[in-house]
Amino acid sequence: MKILVTVKEVATVEDEFEIEGTEIADQYLGADLNEWDDYAVEEAVQLQEAGVADEVVTVTIGPEDCEQTIRQALAKGADRAVRVWDDSLEGVDLLDVNAKTEILSAVVEEEDPDLVLTGVQAGDDSFGATGVSLAEEIGYQWGAVVNHLEHEFDGDVASVRRELEGGVEELTDIELPAALTIQTGINEPRYASLRGIRQAQRKELDVKSLADLGVDESAVDSDLELTDMYEPESESDVTVWEGSADETAAELGELLRDKGVAP
């Protein structure tokens, strides 16, 4: 089985920051491998160690600067990486789901994996939609928000659990080939070993342009336009009850009765 894992370097923001236009000012930004993707990589590497997968390839859309982050996945055990970048992607401040789908689907067609693992969402723009959109585009089956994947496959069927709201998990069988969006907590992502980090430097990292993939430049034209960014307003307007514990508890008791929620 061949597994393709989509990975993304995401921007991280310091607690105190400033906004310039529709972006957070550079000096307050850091970069890291997207948290959800870290779990997706771990799941793929575990499948490889279990002898289920024979090759794990990562794919990312990102500039040269992100290679160090992408090599983290190689250091953890992925075999090789594909990085898509293009002059037409320079200066694009929001790549929407359709654009990512079109670019990534071209890579999937080239690589022809049995399983595509993506993170549920990215920690920066948090669309949570690319994995499922990609699956539909390439004609794969899919499952969103997977927090358990059986490592023993029953033929061409993946048995997964989907993490629904309210502490409920859905037990689902999904035919391969499929794309699964991986939720945090599905496993315990490893730290890369020093040996892994050294090896990662020598692993293959292919850079492809849109032309290499046969994707038209118009793919990067997002339908969605970011028009404003601001800090959410604080709603602080607290009423402090003073007095002894009995007095303040009485105030709270009265509030609960007023709200009609006390028995």
Partner: protein
């Protein structure tokens, strides 16, 4: 066309709250576009659901009786057919785990843009303006797009719709291609102990690090019993194994929106606040007047929880 098609969410025989919230969001959009609000009710006891969903502002409800539970292939096929039939300007779906399992597929199949996890929406002519968060809620953004789109809404951002509507309820004859259904739901399992869904509770008695020791949790359980409320917690309590995972409020736990949220010994880290800021009324009991929880609390008691909590329990016993 200027209509809005909103898709409802249900699980194991019950409509989820967001199904009533999406009526409010959908009506608002339809008012902006000057169109009708259509609801899609797919799978499960659809006639019963349709009756419940027939609230003020709904113009038409389309029921599709196919299977009991959610299946993304059935939803995707049905919604794309409804889009062809009704030609709405917007398809609105919950940004739930199931919403995220079909909305992007619907959008891609129809060649429409998709904008997810919106917390505010308005339309001016053909331009949709969607408000959404980035960087884990550190910033809000506005985003514009032209023409038809698939939009998912975050739960608990819009109020639930009330009243009784006079919607036309009719069965929609969707053609489901069973060969294209590639996934099978075999069942459900409650995890983390018990069958409590803290996101459905009216009153949450929520406990944090300030409780100090596991044995002290009894105070919290006593209060919850006296109030007929539900116990929830911040992350450290679950990490310590003192409460099961399904009690955890926050980004990595549950998002809750009770009528009253009583935060006891919770400092209010941003990850926790993300899970409970939508509560109607927030009461914080904490010795530290500068704890971040005070920024979003409506009422506060700056006192020792070991004094206040028993005094409160006494009132209701």
């Amino acid at each position: 066309m200027s209509d809005v098609l909103a898709v409802t969410d249900h699980r194991r025989g019950d409509l989820r709250d967001v199904s009533y919230e999406i009526i409010t969001a959908g009506r608002q959009l339809a008012d902006d576009t000057g169109g009708d609000l259509h609801l899609a009710v797919i799978s499960g006891p659809v006639d019963d659901f349709a009756e419940k969903l027939n609230r003020e502002g709904v113009d038409a409800i389309h029921t599709v009786s196919h299977g009991e539970e959610f299946n993304h292939d059935v939803y995707t096929q049905t919604i794309t057919q409804l889009y062809d039939e009704l030609a709405p300007q917007y398809i609105l779906t919950p940004n739930s785990v199931n919403g995220l399992d079909y909305a992007p597929a619907v959008a891609n199949e129809l060649g429409l843009p998709v904008v997810t996890d919106t917390i505010g929406l308005s339309v001016n002519g053909e331009t949709l303006t969607a408000t959404r968060e980035m960087y884990g809620g550190k910033v809000e953004t506005t985003n514009e797009l032209e023409g038809d789109a698939v939009v998912t809404i975050r739960g608990a951002e819009w109020p639930t719709a009330d009243g009784t509507g006079d919607a036309v309820i009719e069965a929609f004859d969707a053609e489901i291609d069973e060969d294209a259904v590639g996934s099978t739901v075999n069942g459900f399992e409650e995890v983390g102990g018990g069958d409590v869904d803290i996101s459905e509770a009216d009153v949450l008695v929520s406990v944090g690090r300030g409780i100090e020791e596991e044995d002290n949790l009894e105070l919290i359980h006593d209060l919850a019993d006296a109030l007929d409320a539900t116990v929830s917690s911040s992350r450290p309590i679950v990490d310590n194994g003192w409460l099961p995972k399904n009690r955890q409020v926050g980004q990595s736990g549950k998002v809750v929106t009770p009528d009253v949220y009583i935060a006891i010994g919770i400092s209010g880290a941003v990850q926790h606040v993300a899970g409970m800021k939508g509560s109607d009324t927030i009461v914080a009991i904490n010795t530290d007047p500068n704890a971040p929880i005070m920024d979003i609390a409506d009422y506060a008691i700056h006192d020792d929880l070991f004094d206040v909590v028993p005094a409160l329990t006494d009132q209701f016993q």
